[in-house]
Amino acid sequence: MTHQVLKVENLSKRYQLGELGTGNLSWDLERWVAKLRGKQDPFLKIEDAHGFATKYRNDIIWSLNEVNFDIYQGDIVGIIGKNGAGKSTLLKILSKVTSPTNGKISGMGRVASLLEVGTGFHPELTGRENIFLNGAILGMRNKEIKMKFDEIVDFSGIEKYIDTPVKRYSSGMYVRLAFAVAAHLDCEILIIDEVLSVGDIEFQKKCLGKLGTVNKEQGKTILFVSHNMNSIRILCNKGLILEKGQLTYFGDVQNAIQKYTSSIFLQNSSKSYQSFLSNECSYLRIQNIVINNQQSGIICLAGGNNSLDFILEGSLLIEKNMSFEFILYDKDLVPLLFYSPGHYEGRVKKYPSGVFSIFENIELPNNINRGEYTASFYLTEPDVKYHIKYDFAVTINIDGYPTKTGQVFDYNNGKGFLFLP
């Protein structure tokens, strides 16, 4: 008998863009004094100069809007959606990190959330000490951890280094240990946010397998967020699509993936970049995006010339290090190619506050087989943070490499991504 373990009713979460205060007492005082003397607000100037303060001040964003769904015991639900669609907000509310503006969640059993691997790990403590501390932070009692200690160490595969401070661990070992703790949490509902994107492939498989067995043997319910449609397909039996804070689909996982990927391609064809310029970031605005002299969401590359010219124009409120990143995906959103001069050449430029424009030329290999691809691009400070993310924002149709025989091979026909000379 499966019973309902989670009921989400009219769940909404509101965020206020454009702060009410400046977040700084002396600035607020200064602003107040200026107001008393009938002068202009000293902290509006910079923003107004670029014309977006008025537009974004006091804007209200519904990160989640009237979301309803029921989850039954034993379900593994994949939560799908672009960045900013409300996935993280949903998980944060479910794991009680933040509270909803409206609505109600009712549930049965203990909820354990793993929003980030290794939360609360302390570098100075040994692996053993961290297992206990991390377990306790995630809600386990001491004696529960003791009981599962050997199992955890065994799963992580780092018995040898268990009494070494984790600051000496490689990042792979770190992730292994952290995931091992989380996978052994004694709970009925497990919430996982893209943790599998780290660690080597072997371990990723092991994690997915572990989640599967935990679900089958112990009947745990799992909520899983990932951008990787493959992991979702393997692991989940249900899919939930969020779009701009609203639930657009909840049901069979295959349908969900199908619906999501096709919606991305559909959306790109019908929009111009202006529609997503307002991507939220407190210190950065993008005013113009031009790719290959076009402003539409679909780029066609033909004649064996797979060159992309990006122009991004916008303004910064504060000085930032910025670099460009680009990822090409196939129709199933499997990443195929990564471009990041910030990593590859260490090319990171410091931009002063004010207007900036970024030119980036990407030479994709000319021998890419024909197909419909999509791409994400980001402005980032490599390894520090992402300033602005455009996920699957552009559809790229590649006409393929014209061979001497006149034949053109197709990616979706199983001929692979590249046609080697």
């Binding site: 977040g23 700084n24 509270s99 959330s113 939360t119 100075e124 306790a136 932070i137 995630l138």
Partner: protein, 281 residues
């Protein structure tokens, strides 16, 4: 069927008793956090726990020089070193609790943004970890005092009022915790407030009897010093432990009521802020 759910999440705070129950459920976490603080402290520093002695000792020498030699302040007939040392370690405990609790949201925003546990656990763990440091310093004080009694034949020593000692510690802990909680709630809105804390704590120190006894304060301004709730704590401690100070039940009762009121305010605002602070920080 619909009513079978065990818990719910809504836009309102849970009751105080539910909160207390939750804290009790997480008592292992509390203990582990205290242990972590202690381990990391002596692993990260060169001299480790020796700092626990060096810091108050240096402050003591500075006080002996400035207030004793230059200022010529009286010390109620208690040897200068023990007099200052007792004030310093009590004040340090209180001040550490305030400053560390007040930055709890900022210092742990990463953790708070990822996992839920009753947030109040962290401030409580800070107050308890500081107690470890305080105990070590207190033992140090006992050693110095014994030296004066045995070798210098000083007429100081504990009396029955020493049984108030546990109460004094609880008082200090509550005071430090609640003031820290209130400031921590305010710093989520105004970040620059945190710069004022160290400054404010320092000023507060001079309005209580760390560097001078209550008896030496001019009668007309004595009430200002007595207004500081730490005054009664320090004076009672010196009276019970060293036998010489101004002890008044009324002052102690004042401090006690003050801390209970502050604690209610502190828990209330902390509770209000903790639910949504992650959206604003």
């Amino acid at each position: 069927m619909q009513d079978n759910f065990e818990w719910s999440i809504e836009n309102k705070s849970s009751s105080l008793s539910a909160k207390l129950k939750e804290v009790w459920m997480h008592r292992d976490l509390l203990w582990l956090l205290v242990k972590k603080d202690f381990i990391t402290f002596y692993k990260q520093t060169l001299l480790g726990p020796l700092w626990y002695f060096i810091q108050p000792l240096f402050t003591m020498f500075i006080f002996m020089f400035i207030f004793g030699k230059i200022g010529g302040f009286k010390t109620d007939g208690i040897p200068r070193s023990i007099f200052y040392m007792s004030g310093i370690i009590l004040w340090n405990y209180f001040a550490d609790c305030v400053t560390k609790t007040s930055t709890v949201f900022k210092d742990n925003s990463d953790l708070f943004g990822k996992v839920y546990f009753p947030r109040i656990i962290l401030p409580i763990s800070i107050v308890i970890s500081n107690l470890v440091k305080f105990s070590i310093q207190f033992i140090f004080l006992i050693i110095i005092t014994s030296y004066y009694i045995i070798f210098q034949k000083e007429q100081v020593g504990a009396n029955y009022f020493i049984i108030l000692f546990p109460l004094l510690i609880i008082l200090m802990a509550i005071l430090g915790l609640s003031i820290g909680l209130i400031i921590s709630a305010m710093t989520t809105k105004y970040r620059d407030l945190s710069f004022l804390i160290t400054f404010g704590v320092q000023i507060l120190m001079f309005t209580t009897t760390v560097a001078y006894p209550l008896s030496s304060v001019d009668k007309s301004i004595q009430w200002i010093v007595e207004l500081n709730p730490m005054t009664a704590v320090i004076e009672t401690f010196r009276y019970g432990f060293l036998g010489k100070a101004t002890f008044q039940w009324s002052n102690l009762i004042y401090s006690f009521s003050f801390s209970v009121i502050m604690l209610s305010i502190g828990v209330f605002v902390f509770n209000k802020v903790e639910r949504n602070f992650i959206d604003t920080i």
